[in-house]
Amino acid sequence: MISLIREKIKSLSSSEEISLFLKHKRGMAGLILLSFMLFIALTADFIAPKRFDEVDPSSRLLPPSTANIFGTDQLGRDVFSRVVFGARIALWVGLLVVVIEAGIGVPLGLVAGYYGGSIDKLISAITDMLWAFPPIILALAIVTILGPGLTNVVIAVSVVSWAPYTRVVRAKTQSIMSREFIIAARAVGESSLSIMFRYVLPNTLSSVIVLATLTIPSAILYTTALSFLGFGAQPPTPDWGAMLNEGKDYIFKAPWCSVFPGLFITLTALSFNLLGDALRDVLDPKLRLG
């Protein structure tokens, strides 16, 4: 899989796609915004003036100042430090959810598109059913069974939202199946597994990359929503959703506790949405997610 991605990247570099992307203003804006988020996530230990769980009872609910640029929360913790460490959690969670989703959705799409017939009908029926169902409700049901916690929320969100991967990969696979190189591979007796993973999968990769970039924002929005309701990350984890859950009780007294975490969720989701739209325009303009 990694070698496949490497090949893909090699074939992309110095090609016209790169120059197309570089001219995409919104895509570049997204990339810059995402680099900023990645930067603060990676260097959180150096940027944050305090630890995310450092309590200071003498400075509770202080408004933003030069000492605490985003203010302090109800336990006197530095909101800026918590937001910076929160970037780590948000990006990590987004990536993890997307990897699990693709891990479930892509193989199912390959199998459905490759074999067709009743296997395809069964997989498509399950996918359609899952797609129709409100993901938050399903994720809540799963969290009810598994119990609260960030890991369980990641599992719940991934398990309920892989449907778009199956749909996109299935459609791509179907369109590739009649191509000469597949017919040739079949004629020389390549195994089904080998055809699916060596010949079909690489051709679906650009769609999967676009899809992954565009589903990271919803992964982050769903996991923070569940943390906001109290089912996800538990205190003192500086998850942005959990911070909003704690901050909402002080919304009028100390609005900064709620303003900044939400702002950073928005900026992170925005960076991936801008980047994903640009990648779609460049790599796979016909891709539709609906």
């Binding site: 498509s124 129709a132 809540l140 929503a225 919304i251 969720i265 801008l274």
Partner: protein, 314 residues
């Protein structure tokens, strides 16, 4: 295939889906820890003989699959069980709260569609101009904003600083304004995007160019020929989106402390009142199937080609 058979077939497909969900729901309830009879009695002192009698009365001495059919027969008759916390029938609890949720969904849909379709049309017609660029960027930002955070910010600005609207609880229809806005924000962006994409596609179609070339009135071409066809997917999205809105309503109703079904679900999960959770998930499943079927039917009525295309699959 006639329209009527098509509609009938679509409704029939929904039945096994609901059936499947009831099996999953029952299984989850069955495996959850805790003795339902003890939970029901909640510390009341009764003799072991009375417990045994209740167990028989509720069919809990039977094998699992018999218990399932027993439970199902109650559900079919509209008996969703009793809340362990309030001792009220689940069906009553839900029917008291469902109207709030449906009203909230209706208002937010009206908002998101009027804003989204208008913005979509403007950006499609002014494609490539500054207005298009600006409105499109606002759209991307809108669906990057978490609805619950937007709700908090509305509470802070309109409820607290300006004191124009109630902050939480239900005091009358005006209590639904801020929640409806929070729920409408992301979906208005999706509606705008879809409207724009469809409109741009339709405007490039041959028949629109023909109509223009024939010298037909420009406005007439746009409104009668282009808009009508571009709106089909947008109308379908209206139905397919409804179940997703219920999901959003759970978060927004909880934030604004509205007495709707979404908040009831949240509260019941917290209280481990599983009979209520089960009932609400079941109702949401039925609503999901109904809205999806309606979506399919509307497509079939508006665009007869679809009936042939989608006839084979599910």
């Amino acid at each position: 295939m006639g329209l009527l058979t098509y509609v009938l077939k679509k409704f029939l497909i929904g039945i096994p889906v609901i059936f499947g969900v009831t099996i999953i729901l029952f299984y989850i309830m069955y495996t959850l820890p805790g003795d339902p009879i003890k939970l029901l009695l909640a510390g009341e002192r009764v003799t072991p003989a009375r417990i045994e009698e209740l167990r028989r009365a509720w069919g809990l001495d039977q094998p699992v699959y018999i218990q399932y059919f027993y439970w199902l027969s109650h559900i079919v008759r509209g008996d969703l069980g009793v809340s362990i916390v309030t001792k009220e029938p689940v069906a009553l609890l839900i029917s008291q709260r469902l109207p709030y949720t449906l009203t909230l969904m209706l208002i937010s849909t009206l908002l998101s569609y009027s804003i989204g379709v208008l913005a979509g049309l403007i950006t499609a017609l002014k494609r490539g101009t500054l207005i298009d660029g600006f409105v499109s960027i606002v759209g991307v930002i809108n669906y990057s904003i978490p609805g619950f955070w937007f709700g908090l910010m509305l509470m802070l600005s309109f409820g607290y600083y300006l004191q124009l609207l109630p902050i939480s609880g239900y005091e009358g229809p005006h209590s639904l304004v801020l929640p409806a806005l929070s729920l409408a924000l992301p979906s208005s962006a999706y509606v705008m995007r879809l409207t724009r994409a469809e409109m741009v596609e339709v405007l490039n179609e041959d028949y629109i160019r023909t109509a223009r070339a024939k010298g037909l009135n420009k406005r007439r071409v746009l409104l009668v020929h282009a808009l009508r066809n571009a709106m089909i997917p947008v109308v379908v999205m209206f139905f397919l989106n409804m179940p997703w809105l219920i999901g959003g309503a759970v978060v927004i109703e909880t934030l604004f402390a509205l007495p709707g079904m979404g908040r009831l679900l949240y509260v019941s999960i917290i209280r481990q009142d599983y009979a209520v959770v089960q009932g609400i998930v079941l109702i949401i499943t039925v609503l999901t199937v109904v809205f999806n079927t309606l979506g399919d039917v509307v497509v079939a009525v508006l665009d007869p080609r679809i009936r042939v295309e989608r006839g084979g699959g599910l």
